[in-house]
């Protein structure tokens, strides 16, 4: 059942959505601790997860 969920479109979108929130500590700590690499990871995570949403919605049409 779990596999089925994560293979479905909504399951994939859920991973994207969760990734957006996972990015928060990277962005926050990266900027506050002066560790740009963490901030970059956070920003890339946002772009990839959101880009994936566009792909799922538009690329699959």
């Amino acid at each position: 059942m779990e596999n089925k969920f994560f293979k479905s479109k909504i399951g994939k979108q859920t991973i994207s959505g969760v990734t957006l929130f996972v990015a928060f500590p990277f962005l926050y700590l990266g900027a506050h601790q002066g560790m740009d690499i963490l901030s970059i990871i956070g920003l890339i995570a946002i772009l990839i997860s959101m880009g994936y949403t566009t792909y799922l919605g538009v690329g699959n049409k």
Binding site: I10, F21, S39, G42, I46, S49, T53, T54, G57
Partner: protein, 537 residues
């Protein structure tokens, strides 16, 4: 600050908004699909054009995610309350029950799509009117697209003085005005403009239902309700701005029930080929017989929502006690290469869960769930199914809301929103009054919030008024009225409606319908302001 404000930077700042609108309106992409493209443009221009360092973009993005979470805490339970109500088959009961309130179909639409959602804006806000109003309207038989359009329009006028006046307070706080006479004067202008928009929305809803014939039929209700909504708010805004909207939306809610008993609306009346009604619509129920439930039982979650909200927000000792629990983050100062500074904050956008509309919705949803289960309108072991349906509906809107708010924060933090506003004012010069409300619209469109729009542009409008040597109250009134109008088209609000109405992905169609009304309304207010300023000068 040496922010370059010229045509190129103005165009680059406008580019993400243009791309977003084109993808949604022209190509009919959903907000969840279009937002990432616009966000990628914002990130690119922030680094390459507006000299933003990584830590600035990272922190503005983090602020955006935090703000989005606070908004999403409304969306998630709003969908949940809808799913609980749907599972119980209560929407069919609403449809039948509304016949008893008034057999006049237009009045039913006005009652929910204008009067009830305005009441919800008066007490809650945060998107609740749209999230709750859309499924109620589909429940009485509206085509889902119109079930989203109507509450978006219907609630917007109440944004400035609604939610116990938070957007208004933000405007006054941001501008630093303390002179009571001037504050009342700003309130007078704001309430006058909002009254105009209130009349426009009432007439628009009637027009959508059945063009001239419906406008004629709905005119008594529109005039009476608008006098209470807009006129009453105007009068009360001179006495107590905090409750000016709340009191009048409560009175209007009572009056609409009385109107249903008058000769105008106590006879069956409908327009057979109304484009907003789906005559073939029947609400399917999965496990219950809706005929056994009366309308008051069906309304249980919404009664609970109203009661909880009024109790907590209006009884100050309770509000203060529950409001003690707060969560927030501190943020360090950041600045761009052009000197745009985002000041350090100790407690950014504090979240008080126990006084937040999302928690009221969640509690109301559970009260509804257990009540419906106790009267056997929801079967055993259905909570999991309801929860899964909620997740399916909320995930795409979650992604879009996060993306949109991150986008607006990065644009604001890198000076792009300022470029749009100042650039427009510079280009318009003496004719700026014409577009002053549109600046408010822009702020709300970007942030999904009248309050945020006022925080973004309140000071700017005041400065512009001083430079142009016009009364400051006129531009500030136009600002907040524009901010209220902008809520009709902000993608964040639109998503709330499309999600609860079950048409997620059709945000472009909704925008296409509302955009002309919103822009025309803002311009109309701008023209009135322009003519007034021409006369007095």
């Amino acid at each position: 600050m040496d922010l370059p404000i010229n045509f190129i930077t103005w165009m680059l700042s406008a580019l993400p908004i243009i791309v977003l609108l084109v993808l949604m309106v022209r190509f009919q992409w959903g907000a969840a699909e279009a937002t990432p493209i616009a966000l990628a443009i914002v990130f690119t221009t922030a680094f390459l054009v507006f000299k933003a360092p990584i830590n600035l973009v990272a922190l503005e993005s983090a602020k955006g995610i935090w703000n989005a979470l606070i908004v999403l805490i409304v969306i998630w339970p709003a969908i949940f309350i809808y799913e609980v109500t749907h599972e119980a088959g209560a929407f069919e009961v609403f449809k039948n029950g509304m016949q008893k309130f008034s057999p006049n179909e237009l009045l039913q639409v006005i009652a929910i799509g204008w009067v009830f959602v305005s009441f919800l804006q008066g007490v809650t806000g945060f998107g609740v009117p749209v999230a709750v109003g859309a499924p109620l309207l589909t429940g009485i038989g509206l085509v889902p697209l119109w079930a989203v359009v109507i509450p978006l329009l219907g609630h917007a006028w109440a944004n400035t003085f609604g939610t116990l006046s938070v957007a208004w307070q933000a405007l006054i706080f941001q501008t630093g005005i303390t002179d009571v006479g001037l504050i009342n004067s700003i309130a007078l202008w704001a309430a006058s403009f909002l009254w105009i928009f209130n009349v426009i929305t009432g007439l628009s809803i009637s027009w959508f239902y059945g063009k001239k014939e419906a406008v004629k039929k709905g005119l008594p209700a529109v005039l009476i309700i608008s006098t209470i909504h807009g006129g009453g708010q105007l009068v009360l805004s001179q006495i107590n701005q905090t409750v000016a909207n709340f009191v009048m939306t409560c009175i209007a809610l009572g009056v609409i029930f009385l109107l249903g008993k008058t000769k105008w609306y106590n006879q069956p009346w409908s327009i057979k080929n109304s484009r907003i009604m789906d005559r073939s619509k029947t609400v399917t129920t999965e496990s219950t017989n809706p005929n056994e439930m009366n309308i008051h039982q069906a309304f249980t979650p919404y009664y609970a929502l109203t009661l909880i909200t009024l109790t907590i927000l209006l009884i100050q000792p309770i509000k203060r006690f529950l409001g003690q629990l707060k969560f927030s983050f501190s943020f360090i100062e950041t600045s761009t290469g052009y000197g745009v500074v985002n000041k350090a904050v100790d407690s950014y956008s504090a979240f008080s869960p126990l006084t937040h509309a999302g928690v009221f919705l969640l509690v109301a949803a559970f009260i509804g769930f257990f009540y419906f289960r106790s009267i056997k309108h929801i079967g055993k072991n259905r909570l999991g199914t309801i929860f899964m349906r909620t997740v399916e509906k909320t995930v795409p809107s979650t992604i879009a809301v996060v993306g949109l708010i991150v986008m607006s924060k990065v644009m604001g933090g890198t000076g792009q929103i300022e470029i749009l506003a100042v650039g427009t004012a510079n280009a318009m010069k003496g004719s700026y009054a014409l577009v002053a409300p549109l600046v408010g619209v822009l702020g709300s469109f970007m942030t999904s919030s009248n309050m945020a729009s006022n925080i973004l542009f309140g000071k700017f409008q005041m400065t512009t008024a001083s430079i142009l040597n016009v009364p400051v109250e006129t531009f500030l009134g136009a600002q907040t009225a524009g901010g209220a109008i902008g809520n009709t088209i902000s993608p964040g609000n639109v998503i709330l409606g499309t999600t609860t109405a079950g048409i997620l992905g059709q945000e472009g169609k909704v925008l296409k319908t509302i955009l002309p009304i919103a822009i025309a309304s803002a311009l109309f207010i701008g023209v009135i302001l322009f003519v007034y300023l021409m006369i007095i000068q």
